[in-house]
Symmetry: C2
Subunit: 298 residues, 2 copies
């Protein structure tokens, strides 16, 4: 993601990513270090960028959306820390660096994940307190936080993680595979866009169109990631490749092969673009982004 | 805790404890089972009872506080599930039953904890949406959720867990010991009471007095628990006794001996009672509860 607009949003998030964490005192310094380590590990910040862009798109002020953008990044980061644990995917490398538990130990990695997840809600709730004099803006924030909690929760990301764990070493159906992708990855990406849309003051149609866009790029994104796990290099990916096959993970390439998976990713990308391009003339950022995400496998 | 009023509150929570969880579909049935297993494992429900009682005390309608009462129980339960994991305290028994990871495996226990924590915020945020037409009640809810997020977070419960992990096998100072107790246990108990107070429409003095009460019973509660770990039986406690000493945990009895610890617990209990008895004539429930919590070591 090299386009200027993406980098502008990403820089905004990078600059504020530690700002919305609670002030932790020196007695919990290791906790701060463990949380910061993974937050600063150089991720794409896709979810937070999407949140800011959706807020902008709907006419809001992106800066006021920063607590929610950072919150969703805390949630995404916690999910990676927990997902990498020995009891889960047992990964040693993430974004080209040793995983959290490899550096801080398992106990601290569990707590750093818990800390990031809780901090996300603390940051959003704290922000709401600033809008007690503007009820319209307060309500937008309550809706945004609800979207994020749902996307991260047991009908969203966690449901996907559970299904992913349970599908390991099994021949899984197309239905389960779609369920995993929809929940594990697309749910939080949809939540980011929906939260941003609410914060920006969207109308119903905008919300629906952004939702359709997000679901399609979310699904495409996971398929592309899984394709790279098969065909990419460790340097490109920043993590061990081939681990899905080793873990007998339920993925598109494992089940349908590379060619079919590429076709599916491209189809989803086109759907995403149409969801916005057909109705709006200010959707350039989103359209370019969909192409860039898909181009990782070209 | 045998008094009628306590049981009335506890029954209310018991009846609703699953009600505020998101509707999880059948594909994540194991997640539901794992979460439900620990929620229904027969805990005291102290934090949720305190939340309801504080709401009542301040003149609110306890029934409308139920989503927050259940949310704080979700948070407490997640903290126990994660705390029992092999990488943390490595406990096999909790409330007289095998711990979550012993039944569902480590991966599912981690996810069940994550699921409960996220569900807590999802439940509270969802409840807020019901109060968009009553801004005063909406604001009370935002404040309550913020208190709970702070108490559960990196300046609260998680800070205490981290300090607890870091203090293992070390001779720790009085300062660190107090820090652990204040955060690991008292913070969420304080959050429960403060959230209930806000929901009930407290004034500033009520909030301060309830806060002082909660901090004192919170600290007393942890000391009493640690005393029981030394002098209690497994049947009384529902978990392995002597594990603190085996794990070289930082506790009052390990550092100051049993007699001194009992004295301290009684002193804190008296402080708690005075915080309310000196100013209110409707604080009977709280005063009786402080005595009952302390009487576990008599």
């Amino acid at each position: 993601m090299q386009n200027e607009e993406y980098l502008r949003y990403k820089n905004l998030v990078d600059e504020h990513i530690l700002y919305f964490l609670p002030d932790i005192d020196h007695k919990s310094i290791t906790l701060t270090e463990a949380m910061t380590y993974s937050l600063k590990a150089g991720g794409k910040m896709l979810r937070s960028v999407l949140l800011l862009a959706a807020c902008d798109f709907c006419g809001g002020d992106e800066k006021t959306a920063l607590p929610y953008a950072c919150a969703i990044e805390y949630i995404h980061t916690y999910s990676l820390i927990h997902d990498d644990l020995p009891a889960m995917d047992n990964d040693d490398l993430r974004r080209g660096m040793p995983t959290n538990h490899k550096v801080f130990g398992e106990a601290m990695a569990i707590l750093a994940g818990d800390g990031l997840l809780t901090s996300a809600f603390e940051a959003m709730n704290k922000d709401m307190l600033l809008y007690f004099d503007n009820v319209d803006l307060l309500k937008r924030r309550v809706r945004a936080a609800y979207e994020i909690s749902k996307g991260a929760g047991c009908r969203g990301m966690i449901a996907g993680q559970v299904a992913d764990v349970e599908a390991e070493n099994k021949q899984c159906t197309r239905e389960i595979l779609d369920y995993i992708h929809l929940n594990k990855t697309a749910a939080l990406i949809k939540a980011a866009v929906r939260a941003g849309a609410y914060l920006g003051g969207c109308d119903k149609k905008m919300l629906e169109d952004l939702d359709a866009y997000a679901e399609n790029i979310g699904l495409a994104f996971q398929i592309v990631d899984d394709i790279l796990d098969v065909s990419g290099s460790e340097a490109e990916l920043g993590k061990r490749v081939g681990s899905d096959e080793a873990n007998q993970k339920a993925t598109y390439p494992c089940r349908y092969g590379l060619e079919e998976s590429k076709k599916k990713a491209n189809e989803l990308t086109e759907n995403a673009k149409h969801a916005l391009a057909d109705y709006y003339d200010n959707a350039e950022f989103f359209i370019k982004l969909a192409d860039e995400l898909a181009s990782r496998i070209k």
